[in-house]
Symmetry: C2
Subunit: 203 residues, 2 copies
């Protein structure tokens, strides 16, 4: 079971649950710091790297879109097909369903969830304004997700961080931990957070 030399990450059940929970909470493109925090937390449940978290959100989002697109296409061509033979489907339930709901995530695709995440940062954001200063900011950064704020430190590049640093992060009572008051059981309701425009953050 232990993935000795396994070439690619496969999430444990707990990791997957938490990730999906976060996704359902509205997270789509978490920032570098957010990913770092998620990674730190999830590493408690098994081996994981920042890039795994990054890719997971990337793929999950993309495949959600794709699923929706396909569904819509199917509906559309069905509709066209029916229209074509001059048949008006005035009671087509499945058609109404999609037509009425639209893209559930479309409006939250590009927003920064930094401010809207009551779940994620509920520990209070006033006194952790300079988190990352003291803690060797774990910028995992695949596809260049480093947020502007971090970039000011980040003058030249990134280097590897050894595993201990992160593990020890778990033992010390860090801010990161109380950002995860997740119940990991309620996996049913839809996106509830209200998207903010990211422009309010100073760039």
């Amino acid at each position: 079971m232990s993935p000795t030399g396994s070439s690619r990450w496969s999430p444990t059940t707990e990791q997957l649950m938490i990730l999906e929970e976060l996704y359902k909470s509205g997270f789509r493109t978490p920032s570098a710091s957010q990913i770092q925090q998620i990674t730190t937390h999830l590493s408690f449940y098994g081996r994981i790297e920042g890039k795994n978290v990054f890719y997971w959100f990337q793929n999950h989002k993309a495949r959600d879109r794709q699923k929706l697109r396909r569904k819509l296409n199917k509906q559309l061509q069905l509709q066209q097909q029916l229209q074509f033979q001059h048949y008006q489907p005035n009671q087509d339930i499945s058609n109404n369903f999609v037509a009425n709901f639209g893209y559930p995530y479309a409006s939250t695709t590009n927003i920064s969830l930094f401010n809207s995440s009551s779940l994620f940062f509920q520990g209070g954001d006033a006194n952790i304004s300079e988190r990352g200063m003291n803690c060797k900011w774990g910028v995992y950064n695949p596809q260049c997700l480093v947020e502007k704020k971090d970039m000011t430190f980040c003058n030249y590049g990134w280097t590897l961080m050894d595993a201990n640093q992160q593990s020890s992060c778990c033992t010390k009572p860090l801010k990161t931990l109380d950002l995860f008051p997740l119940t990991t059981t309620r996996i049913k309701e839809d996106c509830t957070t209200t998207p903010h425009q990211p422009s309010s953050c100073d760039i």
Copy 2:
């Protein structure tokens, strides 16, 4: 001129020359270590980060392709247009030009240049087999470019590297430097290196 608070990198003339020289030598998608070395070298000519180098190659390659595609499309529709009015352009010079050359870079798009870079590693690659071991490998890694070899160290994630570390790299007589015997003047000939399959590297 000094970019105090300049939001985006703009390459100096020297940096650009070297980058283009490398590009012409066959580099398309340099590995993390290669980018690190390039960055280290180029930082001598001005402020630069790994991700700048990464993006530069990314964009340059993409825009080369795009330029070529447009040219081909234009030629194609011209050709079709002419064919359509039953006119055979038997002396169309520009058409012949594209038709005869094809995609200059098409075959080198996906290869790893790790082994083929006589220019880049000409300083000898035997005694630097463990480069990166001692030097806190600067994995800049936007879009997850970390190569398999480096990944073994890289257990959990990356963190920021401060600028001094890299600057001091320049003062110390590092291996990195003699990898750049560039003349930066001959900017005319085409890609000359022979692409190797990356599969020979141990995974």
